[in-house]
Subunit: 145 residues, 2 copies
Amino acid sequence: MKRNDALLEPFEALCREKGLALTVQRRAVLKDLAPRKDHPTADQVFESVGPQVPGLSRTTVYRVLDSLAKAGVIQEVGHLGTAMRYDPRVQRHHHLLCVECARVLDIEDPRLDALKAPTGTGFEISDYSVYFKGRCPDCRKKRPR
Amino acid sequence: MKRNDALLEPFEALCREKGLALTVQRRAVLKDLAPRKDHPTADQVFESVGPQVPGLSRTTVYRVLDSLAKAGVIQEVGHLGTAMRYDPRVQRHHHLLCVECARVLDIEDPRLDALKAPTGTGFEISDYSVYFKGRCPDCRKKRPR
DNA sequence: CTCCGTGCAAAAGGTTTGCACTGGT
DNA sequence: ACCAGTGCAAACCTTTTGCACGGAG
């Protein structure tokens, strides 16, 4: 058994559970992503995996990452779609994201405005924001669970 | 004095303070963005402002939003550059973002793992994550304040 | 008067799509 | 054998850049 197989196993189990076929390409992407802590872009994964899997296309890496994320095997990070969004409010506040319609709501909650920044990271922290993910009232009405 | 001028004033004051010229275009963008709560993209602002300011170009809207954000007059929302990023970790954890080099670090902090979700929003909340912004150790060393 | 800010056009990313083929299950 | 998944190429969308002109300070 190769060195990374133990690390890969939970991911593959999750794929089977979700009915995602375990193709050579999916395994290769997972094997590359699993140990990484740098939150790579699709392109970075492609650059890193590509050479090891002859014929692997960039498109496939995009599709594999997308399907894995939709199935909950991996996660997309800090991103609300492809385009940058702007907010006229500069003071500290937090956000509610609808995972279905991508709507973003501001929320005020004094309890969230006094979180302690983590220490020992060497970072000089200037601000923070909490992002809640969920389904908005409209989407819940349209497609109840 | 028109209806929105009171709303606009703090933004314009901030522009003067930061040395940003108050052009017709900047005023138009600010006037459009100021009352909005939907976190629009640059294109959405352009669609909405464009018709009112003949000759206003899309490029300018991008540049105006960028300069306003860099000056701290408005804010960019939940976005780490243009490309989507992926994380192999699906369990709850939080992030440290370097605003200079765009590096993203995972952080573990049990104190952050038990935040109360806001109530009364009608959202069905499934998860959340805290994003801290700051300057990483490397960037602090390279360009100390 | 001097630059910063702008418009236009073109390029540079990043991502998605149509279609035919192939390989998991 | 069936259908999900793939490769390729082209389209698409968002953002950036070069250059010349014009208006705010």
